[in-house]
């Protein structure tokens, strides 16, 4: 019952606000959705303490699809992993519901917004509690739809609609991989139930499967396909292009969906499938390679962006890379640990940024900010906490998880482990740099906003600040409190995460050299110091560097030209092909001979038949006589 309420309370809220929002009004919609979310969050906290270190079990709701041997139930799978995820999802979602009450106060369609948020939460909970791949897919697509709806929430802005479509379409590419992965699982294991798949994964470790005439390792294929799905949802290198654009959505959406929860679904998927990935080293190597590359790549772009939300978005992309390469070196626990801490401090950063944007009259360009730290001190302090946690400064949440990941990368002997380590260190330096840059540009220096805006800079209302305090609490203490996640015995997860190797990677990471242990801190402080010099002490330097290294600067500013590349390789050719089929195939052939041709012929025939009616009575009589004559002739000559 606890779990059913946990998962379905947001759905009830979404339905009430969505269907009856106009009737019950804005305030009631907010109360209803926040109320049901509070209920769900309370259940999630209870479930968290009940189930970590506990025994895994299932809550069977009902049979879903029963066709022949294909049997799918609708069940909630409760173990350490799903309990941790539910806590993150429900609790942060609740805070963001509350924050939205303040942030969206002046919006025209509040019930719709609240309803979408709750709907998203339901889908995400469905995803993390799934007991089989079909149910996972339901949640996966559900969060995709909610994300689409929320990115395009301000549907009267062309850029928001384009961003929503882009998110949806890029995700389809990933989903294609996921669907194939699900199909491959069913083909190989004859089931979509996790239990069956995980129990039998080891026995298929050396089997092969023939795809297009080539033999591949079965588990590698499945692992790679599932990872392609994860890449789409979690914005990994290649399929990352939608995430920065998704910032077109309202800021609470960016915080909830595009930082704390939905984008981490891919990490969850890989961690959930650890019993399978452990037997698919090639797939794991790919995970490590893509994750590490993304971590570094996104951080380089984050250095030069000017939109405050985009900086944080690339930071999210980069941090997701960390989580993936942790999984790629078998340190799934470390990856999910980072997911857990990151959810708090990244949501904090986004909501803080939202508070800044709110204060600056919806200005998002950091070049037009500056010098406002003493006007919005609470937000300023919150942003510091979030940034320090992100940089991995000791005893903030990010410190525990990020260091664990980098140590695991060093300790691991998996392919690309060293590659991941060095790129991770590089990315840590860049992370500290762009976090510092964000703080200096936004809050310090000379005010660059116009006089009118500066006069009206104001601290956000309490309804927005209280969620910030809660998240700041998470950013401060979540890492320390949840250290049990990376204990070598993995008891926290109650069996959900599986690791091979004796001693396992979580044991090994405690035996890395001291220098490795301090490396993240050293580069972090260095990066932060550099940003301090460049943007606070000698603010003329960055412009000169950018001018001197103009090609590099442009390359980074234009996000490595990924969008342009995709436009050239995929979008334009697809449009050209579409145009050929549209104009030639559909327009000329199908319409020409089909609807248009038939209609034109009908029109001609109609004109001709109408012309038969001359109005002369002798023509009429003639027609009658011809008719009779023709019929008689027919009978006399042909019938007998």
């Amino acid at each position: 019952m606890l779990y059913t309420i946990l998962v379905f309370a947001p759905l009830v809220g979404a339905l009430i606000a969505g269907l009856f929002g106009r009737m019950i009004g804005d305030r009631a919609s907010q109360v209803v959705t926040c109320g049901f979310m509070a209920l769900s969050a309370a259940c999630a906290i209870a479930s968290f303490f009940l189930n970590i270190y506990g025994e895994p079990f299932k809550v069977v709701l009902f049979d879903w699809i029963v066709v022949g041997s294909f049997d799918t139930q609708w069940a909630l799978r409760i173990d350490g992993l799903s309990a941790s995820m539910m806590l993150v999802v429900s609790f942060i979602s609740f805070l963001i519901h509350v924050y939205s009450v303040g942030y969206m106060a002046e919006d025209a369609s509040i019930p719709r917004f609240m309803s979408y948020l709750s709907l998203f939460t339901f889908a995400m909970l469905m995803l993390v509690t799934s007991d089989n791949l079909i149910q996972l897919f339901f949640g996966w697509e559900g969060v995709g739809v909610a994300s689409y709806l929320l990115i395009g929430f301000w549907y009267d802005r062309a850029s928001a609609c384009a961003a929503a479509m882009k998110a949806f379409i890029v995700n389809r590419v990933g989903d294609f991989g996921l669907i194939l992965g699900i199909a491959a699982c069913y083909l190989v294991f004859d089931s979509v139930q996790y239990d069956v798949i995980f129990a039998n994964a080891a026995s298929f470790a050396d089997s092969t499967i023939v795809v297009f005439g080539y033999e591949f390792n079965t588990l590698t294929i499945i692992g790679v396909l599932l990872f392609i799905g994860a890449m789409g949802k979690s914005a990994q290198l290649g399929l990352h292009t939608w995430l920065p654009d998704a910032m077109e959505g309202p800021t609470p959406v960016s915080a909830l969906i595009h930082a704390a929860t939905m984008v981490t679904a891919g990490v969850f998927l890989v961690a959930r499938f650890s019993p399978l990935y452990e037997y698919a080293p090639t797939a794991l190597a790919m995970v490590a390679f893509i994750g590490a590359s993304t971590a570094f790549f996104a951080a380089t772009i984050g250095m030069v962006q000017n939109d405050i939300k985009r900086v944080i978005a690339y930071s999210t992309c980069s941090q997701l890379g960390y989580m993936f390469f942790a999984c790629g070196v078998s340190a799934y626990s470390a990856g999910v640990f980072h997911l857990f801490t990151h959810a708090f401090f990244k949501a904090l950063l986004f909501l803080g940024a939202g508070s800044v944007i709110h204060a600056m009259h919806h200005e998002q360009d950091m070049r037009k900010m500056g010098g406002i730290w003493n006007k919005i001190p609470i937000t300023y302090a919150m942003m510091w906490i979030g940034s320090l946690a992100l940089m991995g400064i000791p005893f903030f949440a990010g410190y525990y998880s990020k260091d664990a990941i980098l140590e695991a990368a060093w300790a691991s002997h998996a392919p690309f482990a060293r590659y991941a380590f060095w790129l991770g260190i590089g990315a840590a330096f860049l992370t500290a740099f762009y976090s510092g840059r964000l703080l200096w540009l936004t809050f310090h220096g000379t005010p660059r906003a116009d006089h009118h805006t500066m006069e009206h800079v104001h601290e956000s209302p309490m309804v927005m600040l209280v969620p910030l305090f809660c998240l700041a609490g998470g950013a401060l203490f979540a890492g320390w409190l949840a250290q049990g996640m990376i204990a070598p015995d993995a008891a926290w997860w109650s069996g959900a995460i599986f690791m091979r190797g004796e001693p396992n990677i979580l044991e090994e990471l405690h035996h890395v050299p001291t220098l490795v242990r301090f490396a993240p801190l050293i580069v972090g402080v260095a990066g932060f110091g550099l940003s301090l010099v460049l943007y606070l002490l000698v603010p003329s330097v960055p412009g000169r560097i950018a001018a001197a290294l103009r090609p590099v600067y442009l390359f980074l500013l234009n996000k490595w030209y990924f969008d342009e590349l995709y436009d050239r390789i995929f979008v334009q050719p697809a449009k050209a092909v579409g145009s050929v089929f549209w104009r030639g195939g559909d327009g000329l052939v199908i319409d020409g001979f089909g609807p248009d041709g038939v209609a034109a012929a009908t029109g001609r025939l109609a004109r001709q038949t109408a012309r038969l009616q001359t109005g002369y009575v002798y023509h009429y009589a003639f027609a009658m006589l011809i008719g009779v004559a023709a019929l008689v002739t027919w009978y006399l000559f042909f019938v007998r």
Binding site: T609, Q613, G615, M624, I626, V628, V632, W634, Y635
Partner: protein, 483 residues
């Protein structure tokens, strides 16, 4: 079988009632001069309804009178009820029009009444003599009615055209009857029927040619291709209520006549006459569908629509089976309701005292007169044959009968042409609901017109519930003419 006494006139009781009523109203009308129409119109309608009620109440077993020339059976009863009610409705909707156009003479309802008498006798005709006489009684009434607006060119032209072509058709019919009489030696349907059944082997080509001529004569009354040329001109030229009258009941009577002649005396020659019917059915459906597209005059459009609809009905007859005839009867009943309702709507198209007929005048009707717009929409959907309106079931039964009789290709042609026909029906719906509003029509709606339009629309909707009883009683009627 005991021969009925010559003077047992009970089977013709409704017709006698109509005759006496007509003669009485004639005297009244002559005596009362000016405002006779106000009295005689409703009285005529009342007497028709009483006649229909008598038929409904009476025994439906077959009974002959006038020496076997007149037969009252379930088939005749079914059609007569519809015809009398239809004519009554046509008379009722005509009253206001006649007054508005200053042609309110008591002869109008009276001629309609005599026409109804002729139609009643047509569907009861049991010999070629009775057939010809009743047909002419009906036709002569209609010729005069069509020319009723005698001060206008179009009305007189319509009446004259109809009369000339009608005479030609009568000539064809008479020639055909004479041929059949010459080759069989009798004009009685029973005797011809048994003769043809007996000597099934030898087909007399003379009687066959006679059959073609007779069919052509009746097809003229039905207005099917190639004997349809008069319909658009007459519908358009004749006063609108006369159009409503011509388009409804006489089609039923002529169809009844055709059914009885082809099934009863010539039933043994199904294989032969089927080919005529198939030909005229296809030609009518196609011409009706295509030519109507170009029409902007609503009455002219209804003329082509009528041609196409009779074509669909003939698809059922072409099957030559009991189910086919059953389908034809159901179809014609629905057709009459749709036609009367639509003409009532045309009569509602009156702006600043004068009647308009162009379909573009309907633009934006929904904004000013939503109920009339809804009624017209139901009628048009029904004419287009869109479920759940009755029009769908009418087409369904005739096409189904054709498919059961291995005439699938004919049903396919019918379906395709009804797709084309959808265009002009739905164009009216589009005009009514989506186009820029024109000036509103005169209000309030006349009670009689509103009642006929409204009741027909309601009937077409509730027919979904009553289609099985209707089909069953039509089945009993159809069985009466099969031997």
């Amino acid at each position: 079988m005991t021969p009925a006494p010559l003077l047992d006139l009970m089977p013709a009781l409704p017709e006698f009632l109509l005759l006496l009523a007509g003669l009485l109203f004639l005297v009244i009308g002559v005596l009362r001069e000016g405002d006779g129409v106000r009295l005689i119109g409703p009285l005529s309608a009342l007497s028709l309804v009483i006649a229909a009620a008598i038929i409904l109440a009476s025994d439906k077993t077959a009974a002959d009178t006038f020496g076997g020339h007149f037969r009252m059976d379930a088939f005749a009863a079914f059609l007569k009820v519809l015809i009398y009610v239809g004519v009554a409705a046509a008379i009722l909707v005509s009253q206001n029009f006649l007054e508005d156009e200053r042609i309110a003479r008591f002869e109008f309802p009276l001629l309609a009444l005599f026409g109804a008498l002729g139609m009643g006798m047509m569907v009861s005709a049991n010999s070629f003599l009775a057939l010809y006489m009743s047909l002419e009684l009906q036709s002569l009434s209609v010729y005069v009615l069509a020319a009723g607006h005698r001060d206008t060119l179009r009305s007189t032209e319509a009446g004259l055209k109809y009369f000339i072509l009608g005479s030609l058709a009568s000539g064809l019919l008479l020639y055909g009857i004479s041929l059949v009489y010459g080759f069989t030696g009798t004009v009685m349907f029973d005797q011809i029927g048994s003769l043809l059944r007996d000597e099934n082997a030898s087909l007399s080509s003379g009687a066959l040619v006679g059959l073609v001529f007779i069919a052509a004569g009746i097809c003229f009354k039905l207005g099917v291709v190639p004997f349809h040329m008069w319909t658009p001109d007459v519908y358009e030229g004749a006063p609108t209520p006369v159009g409503a009258y011509i388009a409804s009941a006489p089609k039923l009577a002529a169809m009844g006549l055709l059914l009885r002649v082809l099934i009863d005396p010539f039933g043994a020659w199904v294989g032969q006459w089927q080919q005529i019917i198939v030909f005229v059915a296809i030609a009518s459906m196609l011409l009706g569908a295509f030519a109507a597209i170009m029409q902007t005059n609503f009455k002219r459009l209804m003329a082509y629509s009528g041609i196409a609809n009779i074509g669909y009905a003939l698809v059922g007859l072409a099957a030559g089976t009991r189910d086919g005839v059953d389908g034809v009867l159901v179809f014609m009943a629905i057709y009459m309701v749709m036609t009367l309702g639509t003409f009532a709507c045309i009569l509602a198209m009156r702006r600043q005292g004068s009647y308009v007929e162009d379909i573009n005048e309907l633009a934006g009707l929904s904004r000013r007169q939503p109920i009339l717009a809804l009624i017209l929409t139901i009628l048009m959907f029904s004419l287009a044959g869109i479920p759940p309106t009755a029009g769908f079931f009418g087409k369904f039964y005739v096409f189904k009968a054709a498919i059961d009789a291995n005439l699938t290709w004919l049903a396919v042609i019918g379906l395709l042409s009804s797709v084309v026909a959808c265009y002009y029906y739905l164009r009216i719906v589009k005009l009514v609901w989506f186009d820029q509003a024109a000036e509103p029509f005169d209000l309030p709606l006349r009670p009689a017109i509103g009642a006929v339009a409204g009741i027909s629309a309601i009937l077409l909707i509730v027919a979904v519930l009553a289609i099985n009883p209707l089909f069953a009683s039509a089945g009993i009627a159809a069985s009466a003419i099969f031997h």
